[in-house]
Amino acid sequence: MLILRKFAKDRPAVLGAAIVVAVVLVAMLAPALAPFPGDVSASHLLQRLKPPSWAHPFGTDNLGRDIFSRVILGTRGALIVAIMVVGLAMLIGVPLGLIGGYYRRWDAEAIMRVTDLFLAVPQLILALALAQLMSPSLQTAMLALTLTYWPFFTRIVYAETRRLKASLFIDALQCMGARTPRILFLHILPNCVSPIIVRATIGMGFTILVAAVLGFLGMGATPPDPDWGLAISESRQYLPEAWWFSTFPGLAIFLTVLGFNLLGDGLRDIVDPRLRRSR
């Protein structure tokens, strides 16, 4: 309860949480909220490139589709991609981090070298290269993103595990005869949960961003998906006249990522004990 009160005092974090909740709700209720749900695929060429109006708050795109609806519908795709990528990355990264941090054997060291290597390459470049290797589509983009993100989890779990391994209570457990899997999962892992949650929240934001870039570069979602990045890419040739075409999908990306990042930041401030003091 103390933690909730502390969280509530952190205004940016509360803002982030509110945004995330709103985005999740929009994603869940998308078909009901969008005024023109059929515009996922339908086209109304007579209405193309109309500026924002009451009927079309965000205007229409080059195929006459309502941008407001497409932005709302795009929320689903963005969130699903983010959840799957982050979830998978966690499943791969966390165990690797535990192993890497706990054992001093050569294979554990090797895991960490490989992790460092992955971390050295910028996420975007790696994702691009992987997507290209596997022929571009939304699925390969997701796989590429997962493969670029797992090292982040590995690194923080590794750091926590190393730190805890050096502490006395692990020594005590080992002396009492506790077996390694038990130590890893019952004692070390729970201590890692907070940084993992923080990293996962921020990861949602970054995944949505990088997925948008991939969509923009044509390596991710394909038409007629209401993908935000794709929409911005399609909008370029109609600038500067149809400015609304690029502006609103971008704002959606911005708000969503902002929400996740603010939330993640707020969580991190709570989790980090050094900042927890009352002054």
Binding site: L2, R5, K6, S278, R279
Partner: protein, 334 residues
């Protein structure tokens, strides 16, 4: 009667925490005459460090002074703005020796740059010296003081970094730094707690001789009665944020009046045959008891004590006690 250099009157202080408001200090009284060494003694959590911070004006933002005055050379420090405290009080008139020499020095600056930064603002400066010559003067004075506190190669020290020195050396450097600004009052907050016992002894002897040499008054905060016995002229005993007893050291330590002081002395390993303790727990400042805070652990407590507001009563000349046991004496004495 000489006017006290430092006169703390009825100080009450609370701190806001996540769990509520903590009454850290309640009716603290303290008098320190010029050139005397006063020990403030109490167990962990009794509020001694908070008291020190209150004098220096470096309390956290969550702290609130409820009543009281801290008179230094007649001036109430609690009424001063931060700017005045920086310009006119800290460093130049009140020096400070912190508890942990390992943490008190900035690790990424040389000893010289840190100490000279303070001296530049607060050390006595002979008139009509330009900045360059002034800094040279300060450097020379600092080197001299470092030698006085037995730091070898004093000149080279100024260009070295804190991590290159041992704990005892760092503490002596800190002492030199405090003295360099020629303060009238030196506050030492448990300066020997973080150091080993043999070094402790050296530092105490050093402090003693420096105090008399420079005519300093010293406020020495500690939890160790042994140190008080060796070093301090007078002692104030604190318990749970209240002053419980104060007076000349030899009197308080040989003829303690307050039940807490007696119990404390009885527990001291040098005096006790077995390892004793005082039964009970220190009351939490979040929910302080009304009346005497030692009530729950006092062998002489009666119902009246539960409502007795803290009040120092004179037992003998200069010997004050915050206990009902001596109120009758005071009345008859009066």
């Amino acid at each position: 009667m000489i006017a006290p250099l430092l006169d703390i009157r009825n100080l009450r202080l609370s701190v806001k925490t996540d769990e509520g408001t903590a009454q850290i200090l309640d009716h603290v009284e303290l008098k320190l005459a010029p050139g005397r060494i006063l020990g403030v003694v109490g167990e962990s959590g009794c509020g001694k460090s908070t008291l020190v911070r209150a004098v220096l004006g470096i309390l956290p933002k969550t702290a609130k002074i409820e009543t009281g005055e801290i008179l230094f050379e007649g001036e109430d420090l609690l009424l001063l703005e931060e700017r005045d405290l920086v310009d006119r009080v800290r460093g130049g008139r009140i020096g400070f020796i912190p508890q942990d020499p390992y943490l008190a020095l900035n690790p990424v600056f040389t000893i010289g740059s840190q100490l000279l930064a303070v001296m530049r603002r607060h050390a006595p400066a002979p008139a009509r010296l330009r900045t360059g010559a002034l800094m040279q003067h300060h450097r020379a004075r600092l080197i001299e003081l470092l030698r006085r506190v037995h730091i070898p190669e004093a000149e080279a020290v100024l260009d070295r970094y804190p991590h290159q020195f041992s704990g005892g050396q760092r503490q002596r450097i800190l002492i030199a730094g405090a003295l360099a600004c020629a303060p009238r009052l030196l506050i030492a907050d448990e300066p020997t707690t973080a150091i080993d016992v043999t070094t402790q002894l050296q530092i105490l002897r050093l402090l003693r001789s420096l105090a008399s040499e420079f005519g300093l008054a010293m406020l020495f905060v500690t939890h160790d009665l042994g140190i008080v016995a060796q070093l301090c002229d007078e002692v104030t005993v604190m318990y749970a944020g209240q002053t419980v007893e104060s007076g000349p050291t030899n009197v308080v330590l040989t003829k303690p009046r307050h039940p807490y002081t007696s119990a404390l002395l009885a527990c001291h390993p040098d005096r006790a045959k077995a390892l004793l303790g005082i039964p009970g727990l220190v009351p939490s400042p979040l929910n302080p008891p009304t009346g005497c805070r030692f009530f729950s652990r006092c062998p002489d407590a009666i119902a009246y004590c539960r409502h007795r507001s803290p009040r120092l009563v004179t037992s003998n000349a200069g010997h004050l006690v915050n206990c009902r046991l001596f109120e009758a004496e005071a009345d008859t004495a009066a």
